[in-house]
């Protein structure tokens, strides 16, 4: 009897399909290279990223006056931009990752609880609305004013700013899941709320939240950079891409590489994260599939 039951052919797994999207794959590869380079900064960096030299504002090698010793040139204090870039990416990525992880974690829990316990939903959503009324940059400024400037302040601000968005996204995903019969089936079996939330709700929301967080990761880095730009930024001597861009701004008109190279690196990281996120969403969100 079983021989006659046709099974549905297995759909290509999300990852296999992701790998067929050339652009996304490239983006993923670039991102991987950047992450690896950032991780290996101490071994890759040709110079001490904090050591000043007597050659400020050296242009990059593709410029006539460039020197191979400083492939991307030097900044206003004669520090090697490539080395600072490597270390800077580290901090920037860490900043993005941590704030997205913290904010995303809290936001997800809040969103799921809100969808699961409809009683507290209106209250939570009002709080989320209030939080949403604070543009991330203002939040960043205020938090930085409290905790002092520095990466921690930015991470806290960005994490807080991430919470309401993630909570919303999670909630709307969770509300859809809540409406499905298997939630009721789980309850009918006698599962506790905690198990239902963990094994049923969370597992089914996580992919859309994950996609959102991938996209959010880029945004967070952008906002972080903007915060640096507005005068917060990491504490010297540490290097952070946004801060480097802001410092390079002083030389924008005649030594543009000091600002553009870190800016472009930010752009590249965010672009890749967004492209991967887009591709993930296309793959994981069947509604948008072609």
């Amino acid at each position: 009897m079983n021989a006659t039951i046709e099974d549905v052919p297995q759909r290509r797994s999300a990852f296999r399909r992701l790998f067929r999207d050339g652009a996304a794959l490239l983006a993923l590869a670039v991102l991987a290279v950047i992450v690896a380079a950032a991780l290996l900064a101490p071994w890759l960096a040709p110079h001490d990223p904090f050591a000043t030299t007597r050659q400020p504002l050296l242009p990059p090698v593709w410029n006539e006056a460039g020197q191979w010793a400083f492939p991307f040139g030097t900044d206003g204090q004669g520090r090697d931009i490539l080395s600072r870039l490597l270390y800077g990416s580290r901090l920037t990525l860490l900043m993005g990752l941590l704030s997205v992880a913290i904010g995303g974690g809290i936001g997800m829990v809040v969103g799921m609880l809100s969808a699961f316990y409809r009683r507290i939903d209106p209250f939570i959503m009002r709080v989320v609305d209030v939080l949403l009324s604070f543009p991330a940059i203002l939040l960043g400024l205020a938090v930085a004013a409290i905790f002092g400037t520095g990466v921690t302040a930015i991470i806290i601000a960005l994490a807080i700013a991430t919470i309401p968005d993630v909570a919303r996204v999670t909630r709307s995903a969770a509300v859809v899941v809540m409406g499905q019969d298997f939630m009721e089936a789980g309850r009918a079996i006698g599962l506790s709320d905690a198990t239902l939330i963990r094994r049923y709700l969370a597992l089914n929301c996580i992919s859309s939240v994950f996609v959102f967080l991938t996209l959010r990761f880029g945004q967070v880095i952008l906002i972080g950079a903007a915060l640096s730009f507005l005068g917060l930024g990491a504490k010297p001597p540490s290097a952070e891409l946004g801060m480097m861009a802001a410092q390079g701004r002083d030389f924008l008109f005649f030594a543009p590489h000091v600002a553009t190279i870190p800016s472009l690196t930010i752009f590249l990281i965010v672009l890749c994260a967004n492209m991967v996120g887009d591709a993930l969403r296309d793959v994981l969100d069947p509604r948008l599939r072609r």
Partner: protein, 503 residues
């Protein structure tokens, strides 16, 4: 429509001469009001201002000023000796809470002898008085306006006798001044003592230095002194622009030690740190050679600088710095920093946020790293920073200041009475106080120079500061304007702006 725009970095909190000490305030106050006496470009010669002449009594305690005739306020009211008296007395009135009242000396009384004569009586001689009276704190303002506007004086309006009149201030955006057409009592340092030659001056706030540079380069601003050094060479190469410079560099940047803090209480440590910092490199790399590296606490060209000290100044010597630290018991560990009794040599430095100080501190940090000192920089935004720097919680602080003479600088920073601010070093030394008193009260220049010279020697020896650089005055202007000669009084390059005119 002969209007010019001057871009600058920061705004003042208000434009009340007695309550605003920022350079941003003085820049405008010099234009909208006048002082009794003026200072010449050499920063040493006192010239007439509202007073056409003056006498000093033999005991140095009484100054008699004879005022020019026909001076009027912007609102058309005639200025008299009573206005002068009112203004100066408001300055020293405790109710005004002026942070710069000390600059007026120990006043016994100021009286209007008649409409055009003012007598300034001191309790003790004050050799610097005339210099102080050239500053913007000593401008003459209109009592009626002050009383009418109350707290809004210098915010919503102003009434002075300057070559320009107050039109409108939009805080943090711009401040508009219009020419006073009746003006003809300009100081003789200017060729043009009559009405100003442009109709309107707009002081515009552009915090980003790069944008300011671009603004002059593209003609959106006609003149400014606030361009980044890094761009000066580019600007000099621009045929439409003119870069001029005042030789007097009486604005000094330094890092001070709080000498009673454990970390930097040893003279050897301080000396080592001074030795480690490479001012020449900083001037060259950070400022493109546009500033004068400082090894002295005041410009060596300033009045009463002690020439004997020239050879005794501490110059960069990294090796010697290391040796000093070794001797003092600070041992280099494997992480490249020095420790003593398990404590890392990591002094906390407070500084202003913003690119200037950030770069400067980072450069120092880099230099100090080389001798195993880990400078822990904490930067604060201007308004917080002042409060922070009034505390006792840091080891090093970054500061810059304008001065006219040795006496001006030393009396400000090294008096015991001036702790905790501006004497943030906690330099409490009776001998210094006595020498300063002597210099201040001296009736002849030699005595004064000698007294101040001693103080200079003492503090240099104790290595209480790391001098960084003396900032010269550089003006960038479009060639559409006739060349403007930079002044350096209180760092205000345009001073009264009487020589600004289109070609």
């Amino acid at each position: 429509a002969q209007s010019i725009t001057v871009v600058r970095e920061v705004d003042s909190d208000r434009y009340d001469p007695h309550r605003s000490t920022a350079r941003a305030a003085s820049e405008v106050l010099f234009m909208v009001a006048d002082t009794l006496v003026s200072l010449d470009y050499d920063m040493q010669t006192v010239k007439p201002g509202l007073a056409e002449r003056w006498e000093v009594s033999d005991d140095g305690k009484t100054y008699t000023f004879h005022l020019k005739d026909g001076v009027k306020f912007c609102d058309g009211k005639k200025m008299t000796a009573a206005d002068v008296v009112y203004s100066l007395k408001r300055w020293i009135d405790p109710a005004t809470k002026s942070p710069v009242a000390w600059r007026a000396g120990e006043v016994e009384d100021i009286v209007a002898v008649d409409d055009r004569t003012v007598e300034y009586r001191l309790k003790a001689p004050f050799s610097e008085l005339l210099y102080q009276l050239t500053q913007s704190f000593a401008v003459v303002i209109d009592q009626a306006t002050v009383e009418k506007l109350g707290g809004d004086f210098g915010v919503k309006g102003f009434n002075g006798t300057g070559p320009y009149c107050w039109v409108e201030w939009r805080p943090r955006n711009d401040l508009k001044l219009a020419r006073n057409p009746d003006y003809n009592w300009g100081p003789p340092i200017y060729e043009n003592t009559g009405p100003a030659q442009v109709e309107e001056i707009v002081w515009k706030i552009v915090p980003e230095e790069n944008t300011r540079m671009a603004a002059v380069a593209t003609g959106q601003s006609e003149i400014t002194q606030y361009v980044p050094y890094s761009t000066l060479n580019t600007l000099r190469a621009n045929p439409q622009l003119l870069v001029s410079q005042s030789d007097a560099a009486f604005w000094t940047y330094f890092a001070g030690f709080k000498i009673d803090r454990e970390m930097v209480s040893e003279e050897a440590v301080r000396q080592a740190m001074v030795l480690a910092v490479d001012q020449d490199a900083i001037a060259e790399n950070l400022y493109f050679g546009e500033v004068e590296p400082a090894h002295s606490y005041i410009s060596q060209a300033a009045l009463d600088w002690d020439k004997d000290l020239d050879d005794k100044l501490i110059r960069t010597d990294v090796e010697k710095a290391g040796k000093l630290l070794d001797e003092a018991g600070w041992k280099m560990e494997s992480d490249g920093f020095r420790y003593k009794n398990g404590k890392k040599l990591s002094p906390v430095a407070y500084s202003f946020a913003g690119s200037t100080w950030q770069k400067l501190m980072e450069a120092m940090q880099g230099d100090l790293r080389k001798v195993g000192v880990d400078l822990d920089i904490q930067a604060f935004d201007a308004t917080i920073a002042w409060g922070k720097m009034a505390t006792q919680e840091f080891d090093v602080f970054g500061m810059s200041y304008p001065y006219i003479s040795a006496g001006d600088a030393l009396n400000l920073y090294f008096r015991s009475a001036n702790t905790p601010t501006p004497n943030r070093m906690n330099w409490k030394d009776p001998e210094t106080d006595e020498l300063l008193d002597r210099g201040k009260a001296a009736l002849d220049p030699e005595t004064r120079a000698q007294a101040y010279g001693k103080v200079l020697e003492k503090v240099h020896q104790a290595a209480v500061w790391i001098p960084l650089y003396h900032e010269p005055m550089k003006l960038v202007q479009t060639k559409k304007l006739a060349p403007v000669k930079p002044h350096n009084i209180y760092g205000c390059g345009l001073y009264k702006g009487l020589d600004i005119k289109f070609q």
